[in-house]
């Protein structure tokens, strides 16, 4: 009787899971396979042309100065964004962990930006980072002028060569609250005995953070790195809403969109999207394997 009802449960669960498995197979893996096929074709123009050209689209991309710029921009953006977010998030978490009054209020306050979409963040920061000079100065530059901090005034995202780093500022603003929450949870999970024992042994607070807390937080740091890293590889909407379509702030996702839908270079666009997928996969797959392994070990 028991086995019979177990069998029923099994069938039922298979039936219930089938639609979503099918949907994922078709709409995720099927479309990835289709994009791979387009990326090795010479499709350019409205009508599909699946003539096989091997890896030509990929080879052309790596020789393309625009794609080289995209890679450079992505690396620079990722570095500034990930480091900035992790450092800020960690310090905010440490400050909040001191048991101050109104902790709940500040925690929500720092988390709120995460609830806003990148488009909205972009529109606000577009105004804050207005690079206009003279009478038309506005946003942060105007604030600096009021405070007589003129040396801080700068061209933000229109700075030659380094503009993309300015785009990381709103991204840091938006995501550092999230890393703060991650670190705060991590800090709370550290048993108090450990730090107490260290204090009794005469360790300074710096030593406690350096040799006890930070190492114990390394799984949190890894999670934050992976989550922020794959977000920054895919950055698109933030750049578009701060600065529009501009060559100097180009990243692979924007190039893919423009070349496919404005320029009808479907083969090239598919190749960019596959490279984007691969770069994210390099980050995500080891992480998923690691998490699955630790979960099964437990």
């Amino acid at each position: 009787m028991l086995t019979k009802s177990r069998d029923k449960d099994k069938y039922l669960s298979i039936i219930l899971i089938t639609p979503s498995v099918l949907a994922v197979l078709i709409f995720v893996y099927g479309f990835i396979a289709w994009s791979v096929r387009v990326s090795v074709s010479k499709w350019k123009g409205l009508n599909p042309d699946y003539t096989f050209v091997g890896l030509q689209n990929y080879i052309d991309l790596f020789a393309d100065p625009r794609f080289q710029l995209d890679i450079r921009n992505t690396l620079l953006f990722t570095a500034v964004f990930v480091i900035g977010t992790i450092v800020l998030g960690f310090f905010a978490a440490v400050l909040l962990d001191q048991g101050l009054k109104g902790e709940n209020f500040f925690r929500s306050l720092y988390l709120f930006p995460m609830a806003i979409s990148y488009i909205v963040t972009g529109v606000v920061w577009r105004w804050l980072m207005n690079p206009a000079t003279g009478d038309r100065t506005s946003g942060l530059n105007l604030l600096f002028q009021f405070l007589h901090l003129d040396f801080l005034k700068n061209a933000w995202h229109t700075t030659p060569d380094w503009g993309i780093a300015a785009i990381a500022i709103p991204a840091i603003w938006q995501m550092s609250g999230y890393t703060m929450a991650l670190y705060l949870a991590g800090l709370r999970a550290i048993p108090g005995e450990l730090t107490e024992a260290a204090q009794i042994d005469g360790a300074s607070s710096f030593q406690i953070y350096r040799y006890i807390i930070l190492p114990l937080l390394s799984p949190v740091t890894l999670s934050a790195l992976i989550i922020l890293g794959h977000m920054s590889l895919k950055v698109f909407d933030l750049i578009i809403s701060v600065a529009g379509k501009q060559y100097m702030l180009d990243v692979p996702a924007i190039y893919m969109w423009q070349t496919t839908f404005d320029g009808l270079f479907y083969g090239r666009g598919a190749a960019i999207s596959i490279l984007l997928l691969l770069s994210v996969a390099v980050l995500i797959i080891p992480y998923i394997r690691y998490t699955l392994k630790t979960e099964t070990d437990q």
């Binding site: 409205l46 060559y247 320029g263």
Partner: protein, 420 residues
């Protein structure tokens, strides 16, 4: 037990229903005409509504289906249209920029039909400028019906600023550069410029102003050498012109940039004549708050762009589509659309009394000038070519390296244009 069976049944039923409803084709009913566009707001949408009224008065038996898709200045609509065409489900007619943007994409994809017979039957060849027809044709076939005309080569200026600094309205490239030098020396911002596409807009007008009509047209049919010395000279002019622009151009929209002129913060701005509608919205008066002239070097030339409608191959209702195109090309249809949209008619016989000061002068030029096409707005180059030019221009804005830019333009023409 029964309950769980029922639940499975309901779940499967709903799944099937969802799949079926997603796949069901939109049935082509007779008596309906579906027209696709990206006119969803402002004067464009109002103009379309006015033209639909004219259509319905003339064709009371045909139901008009307005399939407009919002967003991205047409980018979203074009992506939707592309997927519908790839799925074999075309609307009867759709909007597109007249010229190579339509021809390079949809004629090459065998998605639209020639309209020569319609042009003959409706007598449009005699009411539209002779130099316009080759620009909207391919191998002798005309592929779209232009509804409105905008002018790209307009230089807007602030009359008070020019007068205060003793600068006459320039008519040649050299005069323009000299005028901007004078203004700069007087501490006036000579030129207002905006984000990347407005730089391409400026580039096409400087190319026209430096090369002249024939050599400019030759760029697009392969008879002018993109690598030649005259193009080098034009690009060097472009560098000089841009050197007089505001430094924060990358963060300004075209409206931001145009506004600098009417607010007295800058002397010149090059923008299509939709800027005039914007100046009026700001409550500015023509001739006192803003003046206009052809971009220096292009006097007597009308660099145009146009929204136009096509006839789909495999249109579900070809008769209805033709009835729509007849309205789009008619005097009544164009007189309903254009005063609302703030553009002039493609026909040369519209009543000038319906239009304001600027548009009256544009109408006079449209009837008398040589007509050439715009690059940025889809007339002279197909989408692929234009996007390659845009990439080369983007790199140039950052580097100011004329030689690399010119090499990029040569490569763009070879990969996606008529150059060999």
């Amino acid at each position: 037990m029964r309950k769980s069976k029922l639940f499975v049944f309901v779940a499967l039923f709903m799944l099937t229903a969802t799949i079926l409803s997603a796949c069901a084709p939109a049935a082509a009913e007779p008596g309906k005409v579906e027209v696709f566009s990206w006119w969803t707001g402002g004067g464009e949408a109002a103009g379309l509504e006015a033209m639909i009224k004219v259509f319905q008065a003339a064709n009371p038996n045909i139901e008009f289906v307005n399939a407009a898709v919002a967003g991205g200045a047409g980018t979203n609509a074009r992506a939707v249209l592309a997927s519908r065409l790839q799925a074999g489900d075309p609307p009867d007619s759709w909007q597109g920029h007249a010229g190579q943007e339509l021809i390079g994409t949809y004629v090459a994809g065998k998605q639209i039909q020639p309209l020569n017979d319609l042009y003959k039957a409706e007598g449009w060849l005699s009411v539209m400028p002779e130099t316009l027809i080759p620009l909207i044709s391919d191998s002798g076939n005309i592929y779209s019906v232009p509804v409105n005309i905008h002018r790209a080569n307009v230089m807007w200026y602030n009359p008070a600023l020019l007068e205060a600094n003793g600068v006459a309205v320039p008519t040649t490239m050299d005069e323009w550069l000299a005028a901007m030098e004078t203004l700069k020396a007087a501490g006036v911002q000579p030129l207002a410029l905006g984000e990347q596409w407005t730089k391409m807009h400026l580039l096409e007008t400087v190319l026209l102003g430096t090369l002249g009509t024939d050599a400019y047209n030759g760029l697009w049919d392969g008879t002018t050498d993109w690598g030649g010395p005259e193009v080098t000279a034009a690009l060097e002019n472009y560098v000089k012109v841009v050197s007089y622009a505001n430094t924060d151009s990358a963060s300004l929209t075209w409206q931001d940039a145009a506004q600098l002129v009417v607010n007295g913060s800058a002397a010149f701005n090059v923008m299509g004549d939709w800027a005039e509608g914007y100046f009026r919205e700001l409550g500015k008066a023509p001739k006192t708050d803003y003046g206009w002239a052809p971009v220096p070097g292009s006097v007597g030339v009308f660099q145009f762009l146009s929204d136009s409608f096509v006839l789909a191959v495999g249109a579900p209702n070809p008769d209805g589509a033709t009835a729509w195109l007849k309205v789009a090309g008619s005097k009544a249809g164009q007189e309903a659309f254009n005063p609302v949209k703030g553009s002039i008619c493609a026909r040369t016989d519209c009543d000038p009394a319906l239009f304001g000061d600027y548009l009256k002068s544009a109408m006079a030029d449209w009837g008398s000038n040589v007509v050439v096409g715009s690059l940025t707005h889809g007339v002279v180059a197909n989408d692929s070519w234009k996007s390659e030019i845009d990439t080369a221009l983007g790199a140039f804005v950052a580097s100011n390296d004329v030689a690399t830019f010119q090499a990029g333009l040569v490569a763009a023409c070879a990969s996606s244009g008529p150059c060999k």
